[in-house]
């Protein structure tokens, strides 16, 4: 008796589109992820404001100084006391002038300070910046609706 041959059908999924999507996502995250906390540290909780001018694009040259709630200053990835800030600022000013050609009068100091830090400490930091020659200052706030 002739046995009917049984054909088994196997379906296999084409994995290429999944790989494409996966690579797209990977490239997206590779391009957008920023590990640096030099200019936006998670340790700092900014005060909120509903009318602060948006930060993007309106500053020609800038440096960011972050003041923690403890009173320590975060600059260039290092934590330091306010008294120790002058040296790094002088080096930064020199670098910006030699490498980027920015005069100290064109450089804006962006102050990101924790909302609970004593305001006098923030002012001390700004005075140190002034003593190095910086003249423009902005205070950064977190924007919130209403």
């Amino acid at each position: 008796m002739r046995m009917l041959s049984q054909r088994t059908y196997r379906s296999s999924t084409d994995m290429t589109p999944i790989l494409d999507i996966t690579f797209q996502l990977t490239f997206f995250f590779m391009l957008t992820l920023n590990f640096s906390s030099d200019i936006q540290s998670d340790l700092i909780r900014l005060p909120a404001s509903d009318i602060a001018k948006p930060a993007e694009g309106h500053l020609k040259a800038s440096i960011t100084i972050q003041t923690l709630a403890s009173g320590l200053v975060l600059f260039g990835g290092d934590q330091m006391a306010i008294g120790a800030l002058r040296g790094p600022l002088v080096r930064e000013r020199r670098t910006m002038r030699k490498v980027l050609g920015h005069s100290v009068k064109d450089i804006t100091v962006i102050m990101r300070a924790d909302r609970d830090v004593p305001a006098g400490k923030v002012q001390e930091v700004l005075r140190v910046c002034q003593s190095v020659g910086f003249q423009r200052f902005v205070l950064r706030a977190r924007m919130h609706e209403g």
Partner: protein, 159 residues
């Protein structure tokens, strides 16, 4: 192909876990009192006469913020007049700007000097700067700028 997809998912999960959501931030311009040159630090910085251009403008508005020993705000004064809250401060600034023929005129000509106790928490200073600088219209879409020349005074230690 499966191991390749596994590796790709591992990489994606790594990036997703390390992703930080950054909230939008905004800036306020401030002016610091000028610092005397190092050789002659005999006077307070505030005693330096203002620029000739500034002296030709309308009188400076003086605002004082007072703190308790914990750094919390306990009082606001505009000149000698006490103001109960930041909303009241903004209302006063709006009246002043209206008298100066509109917010646009005040932006250019008025200067506010902000004094505060040394230990006052920074968030109160920023709130004051925010309420002095402008306000949102009723539809919450437009920002009307009032004062952009905000100067910090010399910080004073609490009593």
């Amino acid at each position: 192909m499966t191991p390749m997809i596994d590796v790709c998912f591992q990489i994606i999960i790594f990036f997703i876990v390390n992703m930080r959501i950054i909230l939008p931030e905004g800036d306020f311009d401030v002016t610091m009192p000028r610092v005397m040159p190092t050789a002659s630090r005999t006077a307070q910085a505030d005693d330096i006469p203002p620029d000739a251009a500034a002296s030709a403008q309308l009188p400076t508005i003086h605002i004082h913020l007072y703190a308790d020993k914990n750094g919390n705000l306990v009082g606001i004064k505009m000149g000698q007049r006490s103001i109960g809250s930041f909303r009241g401060l903004r209302r006063q600034m709006r009246e002043i700007c209206a008298n100066d023929q509109g917010p646009a005129a005040a932006v250019a000509s008025r200067e506010v000097k902000l004094d505060f106790d040394y230990n006052l928490k920074y968030q109160y200073v920023m709130e004051a700067v925010s309420h002095i600088s402008g306000y949102l219209t009723d539809d919450k879409r437009t920002v009307v700028r009032m004062i952009e020349n905000i100067k910090f005074g010399t910080p004073r230690r609490s009593r």
